[in-house]
Symmetry: C2
Subunit: 389 residues, 2 copies
DNA sequence: TTAATAGTTAGATAAGATTACTAACTTATA
DNA sequence: TATAAGTTAGTAATCTTATCTAACTATTAA
């Protein structure tokens, strides 16, 4: 927001220019929210007078932020109203997901929120450095979709590990070379636009916001093929931590009086090792934890399911005592393999928490969806904040 | 903020009136921040033109929000500038603290942030219902300080327990009658102003914001005489939980495979029972946990101190894995009794976390200070949001 | 069936109101 | 006498209300 106040103050001051900016921002906001808008609809939403609404739309059109899509098909008497819309090609949001140990997914959404391109590849990061690989993927995906590279206005990455924004370093990720690369700086220099990096579980947590039965925040317990984690997304927003290491339940010791390096952590207690070990104890085998869970559900292995569900319920109890979230979502490959059966067993073991527990409502790659949602939200905010100077 | 848009939208629109409101809000904000302000100083802060600055100040004066304090003592040539200030008596913030089992503290701050009244009493809540007691204390304290009762614009309460804003009920508090009273409704009806209720540990956490070495958020581990708890105050603000029950570390089982009602929780592991029991094991006695800690420090009982510090460090490790806060503060009566000695021992047992661990920097009643800070901040926001319509 | 007419809606234009800015002026003070 | 505080007058930008034009639908009469 433009202000004439010399030092930046949280409470702005300004003159008539500010008023125009405010009204154009409002119009653009409603355009972003409403897909198409006539001048009359804009007036209903903003309360602006007819001439003002016309002028505001004209300026949005002239600046290239809005386009006209013709006129309404007459449903009532009178002339047909001119239909405006956000110019979808004015700016794009790009989302990148790094999968352990060698996957890269890129997806691009336009300003109207439509997915315009996506691609996934396996890349040997010992041959191509991870930052170069991401840059190449971004360029190729943009080019193949016929998108103007310079119009990519934001890039968000999801990485499997803790990202420390302060030092621009990725920790714990099982991706060759990742800890040595200053990823944000590398991509920002290449793309010439702001880059934001997220933990993959946090991105998956954001994707769960799409679940209509979740409101006012959620905690996601991620039971992944590679490991576990927690995403904390409360009413105030995502909790990422000072060094990007919030939600690392996997590193919490199970027994506070046994905290040595070989003593069990929650990774061993409810993560893939626990599933495999519990499976073996109940005579269920599989190539990985998700497969064991699939087999257990198929066989109706109540002994295994109850033992594991009890542990998961314990973890949810811990999270609830500390964070008291409105909803607890169980996600990740192991949870998906367990399906409604596992959620049901966890609910039975969770007593008072039962009604807060939900299965993941995201179909497909929750991490990729979440990071694309984050990128698109960021794009909208930046367009609102900067497009009208 | 006044908008002409019919339905409330997060992005406002408006006409010239909005501009005046914005500029008066800005002026009021700077008045609240700066104690005194001349027109010239306001111009430097806002960038407003001379006549506008004059007019804005005039309107603030006429509405009773600002007062004149005379003129500057001439340091330079030219006429002496008129000195404006916020009218301290325009509105007041009241803070109430309920102490287990029978204490009530009331404090009142004026719009300039000065403490104008405070009083503490012991009240038998089996004789006087707790809501009546609070009402009486508020009336008496206001009257004795010569403050206009109708000018109390906000009331904040700190209660020892979980406050569920949804149902307006206080849980877990060891105060007779508290669970049955709808405290917010009762006080709001009596006072005719908005009432907000906080958990006491959360209030104490807010008080730690005053610590200059804390920035970007903190987690407070409260080791109180009555019990333990956690306050989570990250960059996004206080995490209170869906039912006001966030930070209840005391209810977390120590061993996830022993979750029965008689199995140990963190209350038993690092709370008052643990201090007394550990003290006994090391030959240190006292009437309560804080006294045991005082004695241990005085005697230099390294065995006791190291055993307890190791447990506290474990709790801090748990909190860091889940929340990754920039700072970890240890507070409460037990922590105060332990002083720098205890903090030092905890740091030694906490390894990588050591540099994040701080003792409480609040002198006096952290809960009462925190809730008064919360009340005053709320007052300032409400004055800015509502005073100028 | 066709053509004229009445009524409604989209959008443009003109006039008036509000607010802020610039520039010149007045007054007080070292 | 120069400088700084504050006021007054005039100008510019923006929004609003009121009015006007054009377009289109629906009704009605020939």
């Amino acid at each position: 927001m433009r202000t004439t106040g010399t030092p930046e103050s949280p409470v702005p001051s300004g003159s008539s220019h500010l008023l125009r900016t405010i009204n154009e921002r409002a119009a653009l906001y409603h355009l972003l929210e409403n897909d198409t808008l006539t001048r009359v609809e804009l007036r209903k939403l903003t309360g602006l007078a007819k001439p003002t609404a016309s002028q505001v739309m004209l300026r949005l059109f002239e600046s290239g932020l809005a386009v006209t899509l013709g006129r309404t098909t007459a449903k009532q008497v009178g002339p047909r109203a001119e239909v405006y819309s956000v110019n979808a090609d004015h700016a794009f949001a790009a989302a990148v997901t790094l999968h352990e140990p060698d996957g890269v997914t890129v997806a691009i959404r336009d300003l109207k929120g439509r997915e315009r391109a996506s691609s996934t590849r396996r890349i040997d990061f010992t041959a191509v450095p991870v930052d170069r690989a991401v840059q190449n993927m971004l360029s190729a995906t943009t080019r193949d979709a016929g998108i103007d590279f310079a119009r990519i206005a934001v890039v968000h990455l999801a990485v499997p590990g803790a990202y420390d924004a302060e030092t621009d370093t990725i920790g714990y990720a099982d991706i060759p070379g990742a800890p040595e690369v200053h990823m944000r700086e590398a991509i920002e220099t290449y793309m010439g636009c702001p880059v934001t990096i997220h933990n993959d579980v946090n991105a998956a947590t954001v994707a769960e916001r799409r679940n209509p039965s979740v409101s006012g925040g959620l905690v996601l317990l991620w039971l992944g093929r590679e490991g576990i984690g927690t995403g904390i997304d409360l009413s105030q927003g995502l909790i990422v931590g000072a060094r990007g290491a919030a939600g690392e339940l996997g590193y919490v010791p199970v027994y506070p009086d046994r905290t040595g390096p070989d003593d069990p952590t929650y990774q061993d207690w409810i993560g893939p090792p626990a599933v495999i070990e519990l499976g073996r104890a109940h005579g269920i085998e599989g190539p990985d934890a998700a497969a064991v869970m699939t087999a257990a559900v198929k066989q109706g292995a109540e002994g295994f399911l109850n033992a594991y569900a009890d542990r998961v319920a314990g973890a949810l109890h811990l999270l609830t005592c500390l964070l008291d979230p409105p909803s607890l979502v169980i996600g990740g490959e192991i949870a998906r393999a367990g399906g409604e059966t596992l959620v049901d067993r966890v609910r039975r073991h969770a007593e008072a928490l039962a009604e807060r527990i939900l299965p993941s409502a995201v179909y497909g790659d929750a991490v990729a969806i979440g990071v694309l949602d984050l990128a698109y939200e960021d794009l909208k905010h930046r367009v609102l904040d900067t497009a009208l100077a």
